[in-house]
Symmetry: C2
Subunit: 321 residues, 2 copies
Amino acid sequence: MPSETQAVTTTTTTVSPPGTRTGPAAPVPAPLPARRDGPGLPAPPVDPSGVFQYGFPGPVNDLRSAASLTSAFDRAKRNPHWVAEHITPSSLLMQNGDRRHSIFEEDMSIPEKFRAKLKDYFRSGYDRGHQVPAADAKWSQQAMDSTFALSNMCPQVGDGFNRDYWAHFEDFCRRLTSFYPSVRIVTGPLYLPKRDPDGKWRVSYEVIGHPPNVAVPTHFYKVIFAEDGRTGGNVSLAAFVLPNAVIHNDKPLQEFEVPVEAVERASGLEFASLLPPARRRKLCQEVSCSIIVKEYAERQRTIMTPPPQKGSPPATTLTQR
Amino acid sequence: MPSETQAVTTTTTTVSPPGTRTGPAAPVPAPLPARRDGPGLPAPPVDPSGVFQYGFPGPVNDLRSAASLTSAFDRAKRNPHWVAEHITPSSLLMQNGDRRHSIFEEDMSIPEKFRAKLKDYFRSGYDRGHQVPAADAKWSQQAMDSTFALSNMCPQVGDGFNRDYWAHFEDFCRRLTSFYPSVRIVTGPLYLPKRDPDGKWRVSYEVIGHPPNVAVPTHFYKVIFAEDGRTGGNVSLAAFVLPNAVIHNDKPLQEFEVPVEAVERASGLEFASLLPPARRRKLCQEVSCSIIVKEYAERQRTIMTPPPQKGSPPATTLTQR
């Protein structure tokens, strides 16, 4: 019954009417042209993309554009894929927001079944770890509030990481505005493989919530774009990957530096595909990539000292040591 | 230096010129409107989405439209997210393709750093498991060939799964064309959490390749749309989730049936968001959802027998037992 079959195998890609979706509309592809099996051959008897009549399966990234951040959400892991922010010397000087007036909240723009919930974090043992830090969005209360959506959070180890080394690392990023007029930072989670005693590589991560809902990343990355302030000017790049674990403050930050490509391979994302090589500079050859734990003011003066020359570049495939 | 800063924080979202990308173009969002912090307040001092000037981070799904399948690729795990196919009584009758003439090949449309490689599978202990089976695309050699791209593969346990129970399951799907004039099947991998002895849920999966590159799914799903052949007609749905492990042939297929929503929660995808409830039917109430291992012809006659009444529906959050 080919005629009957044809009738239901249309390539029509219908989008849902307004109001039926809570998240952004799925990126339904344009109808695909009818395919022929080769010159002079009959049209194929089937239409695989006709399934789009029932909706585009996705994945959908739930792109969010807020005052303080732009992000894409991972519906399978209920964490962001990445969260991008922008800080400048003047934005950090503005002190209109206070985190005591902000509250953590679920991101209602994400469909319920893919959303991270406040109850997932409750008694999980993990912090609701900001990807874009609240302290980077003090320029308005609304901007700060928008960092408190759970779509800007991942489960992070609290003591020794989120409240310590990671916070010092965020401080390092802010201090970059002393040397660059415009700094962009993209932050997000990773789920890296580790070599087991049997010699096999395995990714293993906890999932919090009852039922399990939000993945606990094994690592976090930041890709930093420090801009020189000129249109089409130089961009000083650095990428860091830190384990979601206690890190002692005496561990040099530069030990966590990796090639941008290593973060790309691990995350499936691309961070600077449109940035010409001629405009790229290496951030950690221009400033000292190090955290400041104590004697903040004193060590602030040393940040411009170039670091010692590095050896061969690390491998671009990230695994857990 | 606000004016300098402004100059480099444009929201321009440039797409790459033709030829600079091997995969489909990233879905660069339209420029975001300038945001104001509220009525009468000054424009925000930062522009988080300005990072798009360096390229949209993604993720990009590498949508592939081939004669025999349409698929989306997971660049982080180097497996498909989903692969959709369409079979009909007449498409399965055509016998122009022979798998002995097809060869496994890497999908060159996916950027090298995100691509599954033939060498990743070599000596991994896993089969290159077709998501859309070669046997469903015998209607032309080219259609069959297009099922042999690694973007249609996942690492699958061979004996006892890919070569046995999973193959019987694929046969079940083909047999549906005896009762429905048009059958659509969406197949893909899952990475499900399992409860460890410490009471915590963890996702754990192997990654094959040196360096590790391709994730080994813990489970596979199929979402089946059996169409009645009328435009806007009824669609009989069923979803199954099978572990990537040896399954004995005497295990009833129906034990692997799950609500479609459970696959959606686990995968982060949506399969029938545009299909009105009034058009939905339950496939396994219309046909016997069971595999046939032996005495194929004899058991073929029994497939229309409705199965015994089922109890309460299973939970919609998938975990490993």
